[in-house]
């Protein structure tokens, strides 16, 4: 598991190199969990979604509301976020998987808009457009305070990411993961092998929801506020952009895409606050044209291993 060691090393390097930007780095981890969750359904199952923030937001609001109502233990809050995300994933999958192709994509947009509007209208619980503020999270394991510099939040987030990544690596190399890849390429063939398609994809939606919900809960815990932006179309679309940028169906691509996109956004928006989105767009066009497999695909091509050399004997 060299990849896991690499993630830990990169995470700790970020901790030492950018001690003043830990809040941003924690945000990167939360969004990376969202993009990982999207990779599960898009990269492994071939179901594109522009509404993945529904699941992220479900986790964020569930953790936030629980926290405001007296559940302040951080690991419990993450668990609550994961369960809420999984439930939202079950709902979203049930709806989205009734359609195919473009209609499916449009449904995903409709779902995130509905979630957004629901969060806006239920202001008694969610704070509406003002956001849900005043989350007071207890120290982690009763010892580590969530400090002003965000050290605890960052290391907690990094640990969460590593755990989730290892679990997902396990899942995608299970028979279930293989079945999902088969469905992505040819659902008719999978049915002729005697396997139903819908329940398999729905299961992946639930797992995906749990991962996105974990990310949402982490965002809520680390910023101590939950805003409507956590359940927005914009965040959903950005997640898909990050995934395409990094490369689909490898899990690593999701991480690379998130780090590059958010790092680029941070740097470029500081240089030119008005046109940074233009430059992000230019970067994306360059990557898509030069490396249709995303940055991880480009890396594999450069190494001469070819696209997706895995699967055989990993």
């Amino acid at each position: 598991m060299a990849g896991v060691i690499l993630i830990i090393a990169a995470g700790l390097a970020g901790y030492w190199l950018f001690p003043d930007n830990l809040a941003l780095l924690t945000r990167v981890i939360a969004v990376a969990l969202l993009v990982l969750s999207l990779d599960l359904i898009t990269g492994y199952c071939g179901v594109a979604s522009l509404g993945q923030a529904s699941l992220f937001g479900a986790g964020a609001y569930a953790a936030g509301i629980a926290c405001v109502n007296g559940v302040t233990e951080p690991v419990t809050l993450v668990a609550i976020g994961a369960v809420a995300g999984a439930m939202a994933g079950l709902l979203m999958g049930t709806i989205m998987l009734r359609a195919h192709g473009l209609a499916q994509l449009v449904l995903s947009i409709a779902i995130v808009q509905l979630f957004h509007e629901a969060a806006n209208k239920a202001s008694a619980y969610t704070g509406g457009s003002d956001g849900l503020a005043g989350l007071m999270v207890s120290p982690l394991f009763g010892v580590f305070e969530f400090d002003l510099w965000g050290r605890t939040a960052y290391l907690f987030g990094l640990a969460l990411l590593v755990v989730v990544f290892v679990v997902l690596k396990f899942i995608v190399s299970s028979p279930f993961g293989m079945l999902c890849r088969g469905i992505k390429q040819d659902p008719v063939r999978i049915r002729a092998m005697g396997s139903y398609v819908f329940p398999v994809l729905l299961k992946m939606f639930v797992i995906s929801g749990a991962v996105a919900g974990t990310g949402g809960a982490l965002a809520a815990i680390s910023t101590q506020v939950v805003g409507l932006d956590s359940v927005s179309f914009e965040l959903s679309a950005n997640a898909l952009v990050m995934l395409v940028l990094g490369g689909l169906g490898t899990l690593y691509g999701a991480l690379v895409g998130t780090v590059i996109f958010m790092g680029f956004e941070h740097v470029v928006s500081a240089i030119n606050p008005f046109h940074w989105m233009t430059m992000v767009g230019a970067l994306l066009i360059a990557v898509v044209l030069a490396a249709p497999g995303g940055l991880t695909g480009l890396y594999e091509t450069l190494l001469g291993t070819g696209k997706r050399a895995k699967g055989g004997r990993t």
């Binding site: 396990f170 899942i171 190399s173 299970s174 028979p175 279930f176 993961g177 293989m178 079945l179 890849r181 088969g182 390429q185 040819d186 008719v188 063939r189 049915r191 002729a192 092998m193 005697g194 396997s195 139903y196 329940p199 398999v200 299961k203 997706r308 699967g311 055989g312 004997r313 990993t314």
Partner: protein, 254 residues
């Protein structure tokens, strides 16, 4: 009721066009039946109807005494009604070993497991190896399917079907697109099919049909025009007409 598999009056209309008309046939266990007919006769439609990819307008499909007409494609496969495809439908990024492993795991109800590893799954590796070895695919077991020869891909189609332990196997042109130098390997694989299995084969290669089949059914314009011994088929007037030209026209003249 001794028939393992039976279709009765199977009919399919697409709008006003009848692509299958009142097809009835039955197969006992161990049958080797060839379904032939000119292009557009409705052979693949017949397979799609039988395996549940499309729904018939009328008629019944009966497997082991059970009416499966209302069942979808998946439960039919699970009950032992298995097909291969005319154009191979394989996963280009996966290896033959992975294809067969996934299929065996599916048959045993283990393919949706999350908490076990896929590669090196010792529970099924013995069976996977024996299927691949029967088909002579062991050398390429760990190559990606996109990289192996088309003849080997066709053999893998048969391998996937065998991994499902079918009772009735429908082979949709198993030798289509295979260079003639590789046809003997396909034929060998067909000879080694389990003796109790009922096999219906669609094929254009008449040499293969005559060597393989004990019985031949000829389909033209969606209906059965001949049923009998392979040795009699070439002499049959209707069959010759069907192959020579427009069958409907030939009949109206006759």
């Amino acid at each position: 009721m001794s028939d393992l598999f039976r279709v009765e009056g199977l009919t399919k209309n697409f709008g006003g066009l009848a692509v299958s008309r009142n097809i009835s046939l039955s197969m006992p266990a161990g049958e080797r039946l060839a379904l032939i007919g000119p292009n557009g006769a409705g052979k693949t439609t017949f397979v799609n109807l039988v395996t549940g990819q499309i729904r018939p307008s009328a008629g019944r499909v009966v497997l082991n005494g059970e009416d499966v007409t209302r069942f979808g494609a998946v439960p039919r496969v699970r009950k032992g009604l298995v097909r291969t495809f005319q154009v191979t439908r394989l996963f280009s990024q996966m290896t033959p070993e992975e294809h067969v492993t996934l299929t065996v795991l599916q048959r045993e109800g283990k393919a949706t497991r999350i908490l076990s590893r896929f590669t090196g799954n010792s529970e099924v590796s013995g069976e996977v190896e024996s299927i691949l070895s029967t088909l002579g695919l062991l050398d390429v077991a760990r190559r990606r399917v996109g990289e192996i020869a088309y003849g080997q891909q066709r053999l893998l189609e048969i391998g996937i079907a065998l991994a499902l332990q079918p009772k009735v196997l429908l082979l949709d042109e198993p030798a289509a697109g295979v260079p003639s130098s590789d046809t003997p390997r396909i034929e060998q694989a067909l000879e080694r099919l389990p003796p109790s299995l009922a096999v219906l084969m669609i094929e254009h290669d008449m040499d293969l049909v005559f060597r393989f089949a004990k019985r031949v059914v000829v389909l033209a314009a969606g209906e059965i025009i001949f049923e009998g011994m392979p040795s009699d088929v070439a002499a049959n007037e209707k069959v010759r007409e069907a192959y020579l030209g427009n069958y409907a026209h030939a009949r109206s003249v006759a």
